[in-house]
Subunit: 430 residues, 2 copies
C-alpha cells in the first residue's frame, strides 16, 4: 500500500505538533500540562475540535479518556486503536505523549485520503485515543485512564484521587469538560508511538525502536524501628540505630544490582530519618525501595533477596524492620507480531531499527493485557525526557509517523489480524 | 577535719532539693526549667535569697552566671568554686544540675558552722556558682555561661543567641533579672558534684564516681552531591546516587567503631536526602557525623580515617563530597589531684568509688582549661537522665554532699592548693 499511502502529510504533522505545544507552554520549549489542569483541558478541546472538524466520532468515557473513531468497515469490524496522551509533567517536554496523539491523526488522515483516492478500504475500523493522566505527576497513580480502561483500576477509586491541593480527578474532569458518559471503544489492537526518552537509538544511529518488553517493578515501603537515644553517652553495643539499618539496605541493594551486572535496577529514592537530630540516634528510618527488571524470574529472585537483606540489615543494626506496603508491577512483553510489523514497515522505508525495553510505564502496558499492543519509539536528542530541553528532530517525527501509517495500513489490509498484518503489510507495501 | 565538719545537714540538703524541684515542675517528678525561662528565673531568685539570707556576697556577671561568695581568708586568698546549674532540659529531671548547686550550699554551710564552732579557719575563700544555660536545649551552644567565663565563647555572641521563637539570651536575662554587671570571681579550683546520668556506679554497687576524663568530639556536617535522575530508565553504571554515598559513610562509621571495640563512638543522627522522591535518584544527602573518644590520639586517627571514608564513599557512589563545617571539642583529663581527693574523702567515709569518663559536656570542662577542676558523681537509678524518671536516692545525694564537704575542708586546710589538699584532707579528716 506504500504506493498510495506511503507518506503522511509532513506539513500537517508539523502544524499539529506546533499547535499542541502552545497549551501550557512554559516559554522555554517545555510545557506544564498536568492532568486535569486548565491547560490540559484546552489542549484536549483543541484536539477534539481537530477530530470533529474531520468527521471523527468523538467519545469521552467516565475516566476522561478521549477517543476519535474512524469507521471504515461497519460496526462489528475489528478496531485498531492508536494514540498516546496529552498530559505532561510539571516542567515537561512538548513531545512526550503529544507526539503519539498527533502522529495518530496525521497517519489516519493519510490513510483516509488514500482510500478516498481509490486504495482498498481497510477491513477494520480505527480509533485515536488521548489517555487521561498518563504521567501521574499531579494525581497518583500514573496510567490512570488506561488502567481504568484495562480494568486494572477501579473507576471510583480513580475518580476520587486528589492532588496536593485537595482537588479530585472527578472535580477537575468536570471543570474541564472531560467527565464523560460514553462507553469506551474496545480495541482489538493497540499501537502507540512515543519518543524514546533515552539515547539508545541516537547512540546507535537508528530511527525506529519498538519496545519488545516492559520491565516489571517491585516497590517496597519499609520502616526500620530502633530506639531513640543520645549519641553521647549511649554505648555502641547497646545502640539500636534505625539509620544504620537503612544504610545497610541501601548498600546491599546496590550490591544486588552489581551481582547481576546492573541488569537489576535498584534504588532508594526516599529516606526519612526520625527524629533527625544531630545528637540523637534515629529510632525510625522509612525507605522507599524500588527493584526493576525486564525478566519476571529475575524480579522474583530479587524480591526474595530483598527480604533477606531487610532482615540481615535490621539484625546488623539491632532494629526491627516492618514492610509498610508492597506494589508489584509485573514485567512482560509487547506483542511480537506488532514488534515485527514495526520493524518491517521501517525496513520498507529504509529506516534502521533496534528492539528496546521500556523501564518506565506507558499506557500500552495496561492495554497490552487486553489486546495485542506495542509502543514504537523515535530518537530523543541526548535521551532527555521530562524536561523543557526534550527534543526529537522533525525528520524523525515524520519517519515515525510514516511507520505508523504503514502499520495501520497493513493492519487494515489484514482486517486487524496482527499475525496476518506482518505479511499483508510487507506484501502490500512493495 | 572530719571530727568537726564530717557531715552535712541532711535535713537542709533534703529541704533544698525539695524546694528547688518546685520551680518548673511538670507534675510527674520532672521539671521544665529551660535557660532564661520564667521558671528558671524563679528558681534562681529562690536560690539567690537562700544565699543572701546566709550572708553570701551575690554577684551576677554579664552572661548571667550567679555567684555566692563566702569570705574566710581575705580578698587576696585563693578561691575554691563549687556548684553546677539550675537550668534543665524541656522535660528534664529534677536532679541534673540542681543537685550540684544545693549540695554546694549544704556543704559550705556545714563548713562555716564548723569554723564558727572552733575549727581552724580555711586558708582560702569559697564561692557557689549557678552557671547560665548548661543544657543548651533552648539556646545553643550548651555550656554557654561557663564557656564565656572560660573565655572560649565571646560574650556578645553568647548574648545574641536566639531560641526558636526569636527571643535572645540578652532579652531573657534582662526579663528575668539576670543580665548582670558584676565581675565574675576567678576560681583557683573548681569542684562540681552531679548525678552520673549513666548506670556504671549502680551496676558496680558503688557510690562516688569522679570523672577522670572528658571525651573529645569531632562533628562533621557533610553533603554528598550527585545527580538527580529518574530511578526508572537511568542505567545503573551512570547513576550518581548521593544517598548511596551517605549509606557507605554510615556503614563505614560503624566499622570504624567496631575496629576499636566500640571505644570510638560514631553516629549520623541527622540525614537529609533531596529531592526525597520515591522515583528520583537523590542528588544531595546532608549528614551530621559525630566521632567521640576519650583519647585525643584515637580521635585524631579517627578523623583521618573519616576523611578517607568520605572520599571512598563518594567514589563508590560516583558523587562529590563537600565538608560544610567541622566542630572539634578536644578530649582531656580533669585534675588528677582532685580525682584523688574525691577518692580519698570517699574512702574516709567508707564509700566505694570508681573513676569514670564523661562523654557529654559539663561546665567543668571549659572551666578545667582555666584552673584545676573535676566533676564528681553519685548514682543515677537505671542510668536515667534528661527525663522525669531521673532519680538519685537521698542517701546517695547525702553521701555525695559529705564527700564534697570533705574535699572543700581539705582544700581549705591546704589554702586552695590541690596537691597539698590530698594529704591535708586525709590527715585532717582522721
Amino acid at each position: 500500500m506504500t504506493g498510495t499511502t506511503g507518506s503522511i502529510d509532513a506539513a500537517l504533522l508539523d502544524r499539529l505538533m506546533t499547535d499542541v505545544s502552545r497549551f501550557g507552554t512554559t516559554g522555554d520549549g517545555g510545557v506544564d500540562r498536568q492532568a486535569g489542569s486548565t491547560a490540559h483541558g484546552e489542549a484536549r478541546d483543541w484536539f477534539r475540535s481537530e477530530l470533529e472538524a474531520r468527521g471523527y466520532e468523538v467519545r469521552i468515557d467516565a475516566i476522561g479518556n478521549l477517543f476519535g473513531l474512524l469507521n471504515f468497515a461497519g460496526g462489528n469490524a475489528p478496531l485498531v486503536m492508536t494514540g498516546s496522551h496529552l498530559d505532561s509533567q510539571p516542567a515537561g517536554g512538548r513531545f512526550d505523549g503529544a507526539y503519539g496523539v498527533v502522529a495518530a491523526l496525521a497517519a489516519l488522515e493519510s490513510l483516509r485520503a488514500a482510500v478516498a483516492a481509490g486504495a482498498p478500504a481497510p477491513g477494520c475500523n480505527f480509533c485515536i485515543v488521548d489517555w487521561m493522566n498518563e504521567e501521574g505527576a499531579r494525581f497518583q497513580p500514573s496510567l490512570l485512564g488506561s488502567g481504568v480502561y484495562a480494568g486494572e483500576l477501579n473507576l471510583e477509586y480513580a475518580l476520587s484521587r486528589v492532588d496536593g491541593d485537595g482537588h479530585s480527578v472527578r472535580d477537575e474532569l468536570e471543570r474541564t469538560g472531560y467527565l464523560g458518559t460514553d462507553p469506551a471503544p474496545r480495541a482489538n489492537v493497540y499501537v502507540e508511538f512515543h519518543i524514546e526518552g533515552d539515547d539508545a537509538l541516537e547512540k546507535a544511529g537508528l530511527t525506529i525502536g519498538p519496545f519488545a518488553r516492559y520491565w516489571g517493578a517491585v516497590k517496597y515501603r519499609v520502616v526500620m524501628k530502633g530506639e531513640r537515644a543520645h549519641t553521647g553517652p549511649t554505648a555502641m553495643p547497646s545502640r539500636r540505630d534505625a539509620g544504620l539499618g537503612a544504610a545497610h539496605v541501601i548498600v546491599g541493594l546496590r550490591e544486588m544490582s552489581n551481582s547481576r551486572d546492573g541488569a537489576l535496577y535498584t534504588s532508594v529514592g526516599r529516606l526519612v530519618v526520625e527524629p533527625n537530630s544531630p545528637n540523637m540516634i534515629p529510632d525510625r528510618a522509612t525507605m522507599f525501595i524500588e527493584l526493576r527488571a525486564p525478566d519476571p524470574t529475575m524480579l522474583e529472585d530479587a524480591e526474595r533477596e530483598l527480604k533477606a537483606l531487610l532482615e540481615s540489615s535490621a539484625a546488623a543494626a539491632r532494629v526491627e524492620c516492618e514492610v509498610l506496603s508492597v506494589d508489584r508491577r509485573p514485567a512482560g512483553a509487547f506483542d511480537p507480531h506488532l514488534v515485527r510489523l514495526a520493524e518491517q514497515e521501517a525496513a520498507v522505508r529504509g529506516l534502521g531499527t533496534m528492539q528496546l525495553d521500556t523501564i518506565g510505564g506507558h499506557d500500552a502496558v495496561p492495554v497490552s493485557r487486553t489486546c495485542p499492543a506495542v509502543v514504537v519509539t523515535v530518537p530523543s536528542v541526548g535521551g532527555v525526557i521530562h524536561h523543557p530541553d526534550e527534543f526529537s528532530r522533525p525528520g524523525d517525527l515524520e519517519a515515525g509517523a510514516n511507520v505508523l501509517l504503514g502499520m495501520l495500513a497493513a493492519l487494515g489490509a489484514a482486517g486487524g489480524d496482527v499475525a496476518a498484518a506482518v505479511g499483508a503489510g510487507q506484501g502490500g507495501a512493495r
